[in-house]
């Protein structure tokens, strides 16, 4: 049983890293959102599995939040925002896909090297979970810096945050995980509302012109 438990959590955490890579080379917004929904879905499976093997029922709540909020609500809302605001469907990237992928591989290698080296005493499950989590976090950062588009950046941030939840649930018995995942959900909800309210299409070059006229006044 111990071996199987280990293998399954390993598989789920590894899939998250793989899906993070898939996010890196998406060049269309809709497919980016679909892949992100898959990312959040795998995360919720992974969290639920951790809840099961650690015998920590409160983690099921975190899994549920990940499933309902991040895998369903947020992608659907973002989808509608894209339609409503008429955002370009294609994503402008700062550097080419090839370079990004190479960078991503470097980051994964880096996180595995750091984490496995510094945690020789921790139990193998926690150390590999942590290494994968750091890889997801770094890939999320990479996604954020290589996208010019607000929605793309938000997806990058959310995948980064998925990595954090993975790390927090992998740290056995960590308190406040549920509270932290709720705090993050609030943060993300704010960002998404922000995109909608402020109509941020490309990174910052278009906003609601009416609001601009009304409030700009004597500014400059």
């Amino acid at each position: 049983m111990r071996g199987l438990a280990f293998d399954i959590s390993h598989l789920l955490a590894g899939s998250l890293v793989l899906i993070s890579f898939t996010l890196l080379y998406q060049d269309r917004l809709y497919s980016l959102l679909n892949i992100f929904a898959l990312h959040a879905f795998v995360l919720s499976l992974s969290v639920a599995w951790q809840a099961f093997i650690q015998d920590a029922p409160h983690l099921y709540l975190t899994a549920l939040i990940a499933m309902v909020f991040k895998a369903i609500i947020i992608p659907v809302v973002l989808h509608r925002i894209i339609v409503k605001l008429g955002i370009h469907r294609e994503i402008e990237t700062v550097v080419g896909v090839g370079v990004t992928m190479l960078g991503g591989m470097g980051l994964v290698a880096l996180s595995i090297m750091i984490m496995l080296r510094v945690t020789p005493e921790a139990d193998p499950l926690a150390r590999e979970d942590l290494a994968f989590a750091l890889a997801v976090v770094l890939l999320g950062l990479l996604l954020m810096v290589t996208r010019r588009n607000a929605v793309g950046q938000v997806v990058g941030f959310m995948s980064l945050e998925n990595g954090l939840v993975l790390a927090a649930t992998g740290a056995k018995g960590m308190p406040l995980v549920v509270e932290i995942s709720i705090a993050f959900s609030v943060l993300i909800a704010f960002i998404v509302i922000g995109i909608f309210l402020f109509r941020i299409r490309e990174r910052f070059d278009t906003v609601d012109l009416q609001a601009l006229d009304r409030f700009r006044g004597e500014r400059r």
């Binding site: 945690t119 980064l160 960590m174 308190p175 932290i180 402020f198 409030f215 400059r220």
Partner: protein, 482 residues
């Protein structure tokens, strides 16, 4: 000290929380501005009472010598800024930059921000501290974007994204600290309680703690505004309402620095972990020198003082990185003086920008002639922040330089170099704004000068004479900081 069964720590949190709810409900702005002032005043009194008696250390909240300094400073500047804000927003309503609805939101958010900062300071739990700093970030993002101009939204978005990344990295560091502590302390809440962590830090896994500190330094360092993670700071300062610029520079940067100091202590308590000092010294020096050079090319007055904040946060981080009783004392003093002076400067700049109708330095001039009270207030503030004797910042900078000479003479060279470069830039711009031919509109300002001159008087007094109880207090804290 217990009053009606509520201890002062709870009061420091409860007063802003209740006030926030109240202010969100009340429509009339004149009354809400007064309630805002009253609530911050009461919070300040509650914080002062912590000096005379502290509640017992709890599992979530606690007060010790270190955070007491921060709480008193935060609540004091929170109070004076609310007084300034009351006169500032009247003008914003008249010119139509803010509508009553937004004002209501603004006041409620001001109290939420005070609550979040106080919570981050009194938290005895590294997870709770993280949540509080996230809350403070969120509220300031909303306040920076409150004017809804193109620039304000751009600034708020940039702050949001960079702040969120910083916050996320800090959380990863927090998780790693928990992982490092777990084998020694055991699973559960205890391994996140600060007072438990520091007692048993000696037995933690040093390698894991090192990696954790790097993440925390990057994460909370983003919030402190240390270069190269400072990109959000000038925009957020320049585009938000001026009271928020004052609170950001004077307080929120300090709160993030406080979080960093806590984790520095944790590393220092573990003999196998790497010394956190050199990392802080390097990042502090880089921020100082970078910001000092950037000061020369600023055309927006609020943006310029934002860069000056980066410079001073660099100096403070440097001082705490050098460590030892003298440098820590100087760092604390510098932090206090910087908060007081910088918020005073923003009080002056806020009214000046309202009078001139612009923030561009090129459109201002001869302020000491057209608006003597405001103009000379600005002159005093800038002279203080640039580090001229006999004002408080000169003294703290002198102490930092001399303690650096005593411990690491070579590091004193770049430090003094950075200080001089920054000094030149500030005096140059001050000359342009305060003296010479008057430029721009010169309608009389409807300003409250009391908060500004109160801060400047404190800074001046501290430069001439530091009361012995204060010195003893700061020396104790400096000893705690190691």
């Amino acid at each position: 000290m217990t009053l009606f069964g509520i201890d002062a720590v709870m009061a420091v949190l409860a007063i802003p929380a209740i006030a926030a709810a109240l202010l969100a409900l009340l429509p009339a702005y004149r009354i809400t501005a007064r309630i805002n002032v009253l609530a911050t005043w009461l919070t300040f009194l509650a914080a002062l009472s912590l000096l005379f008696g502290r509640p017992e250390t709890g599992r979530y909240l606690f007060v010790d010598d270190l955070n007491n300094v921060f709480i008193v400073l935060t609540t004091f500047i929170g109070f004076t800024t609310s007084v300034f804000s009351a006169s500032y927003i009247g003008h914003e309503l008249e010119t139509g930059r803010l509508t009553p609805i937004y004002l209501r939101f603004y006041h409620a958010m001001y109290q939420v921000l005070m609550f979040a900062m106080n919570l981050a300071l009194v938290a005895n739990n590294i997870g709770l501290m993280w949540v509080a700093i996230e809350l403070a970030t969120l509220t300031t993002v909303l306040m920076v974007g409150i004017y809804r101009t193109h620039e304000a939204l751009e600034a708020a978005w940039k702050y949001f994204i960079l702040g969120s990344v910083g916050i996320a990295l800090a959380l990863f560091g927090t998780i790693l600290v928990y992982m490092a502590a777990r084998p020694t302390i055991g699973e559960g809440l205890d391994a996140m309680i600060w007072t438990v962590l520091i007692d048993r830090a000696g037995g933690f896994d040093a390698a894991l703690l090192n990696v954790a500190f790097v993440f925390l330094l990057l994460g909370y360092g983003t919030k402190v505004g240390l270069a190269p993670l400072h990109a959000w700071l000038p925009d957020a300062h320049a585009e938000g309402p001026t009271p928020i610029s004052a609170v950001l520079s004077g307080l929120l940067l300090n709160v993030a620095l406080y979080a960093l100091l806590r984790f520095k202590l944790l590393l220092a308590a573990n003999s196998n972990a790497l010394a956190p000092g050199p990392l802080m010294v390097i990042i502090g020096l880089v921020s100082l020198i970078f910001a000092a050079f950037m000061l020369y090319r600023r055309r927006d007055i609020k943006r310029m003082f934002a860069y000056s904040s980066i410079e001073h946060m660099g100096i403070i981080t440097f001082a705490f990185g050098i460590g030892g009783p003298l440098a820590n004392f100087a760092g604390l003093l510098h932090m206090t003086m910087h908060s007081l002076t910088k918020s005073a400067i923003f009080f002056a700049v806020g009214h000046i920008a309202q009078v001139k109708g612009t923030q561009k330095i090129a459109d201002m001039g001869g302020l000491t002639e057209t608006h003597p009270v405001l103009g000379w207030g600005l002159v005093l503030g800038v002279v203080a922040i640039a580090g001229m004797p006999p004002l408080g910042i000169f003294m703290s900078e002198f102490l930092i330089v001399s303690s650096t000479f005593a411990r690491e003479p070579l590091l004193a060279i770049p430090l003094v170099f950075g200080l001089l470069i920054g000094f030149g830039a500030l005096i140059l711009r001050l000359n342009q704004v305060a003296f010479g031919e008057p430029r721009g509109p010169s309608a009389p300002a409807e300003a409250s000068y009391v908060p500004m001159y109160a801060h400047l008087a404190l800074v001046f007094t501290a430069g001439v004479y530091l009361p012995p109880p204060l010195v003893v207090w700061f020396q104790n804290v400096a000893k705690v900081l190691g």
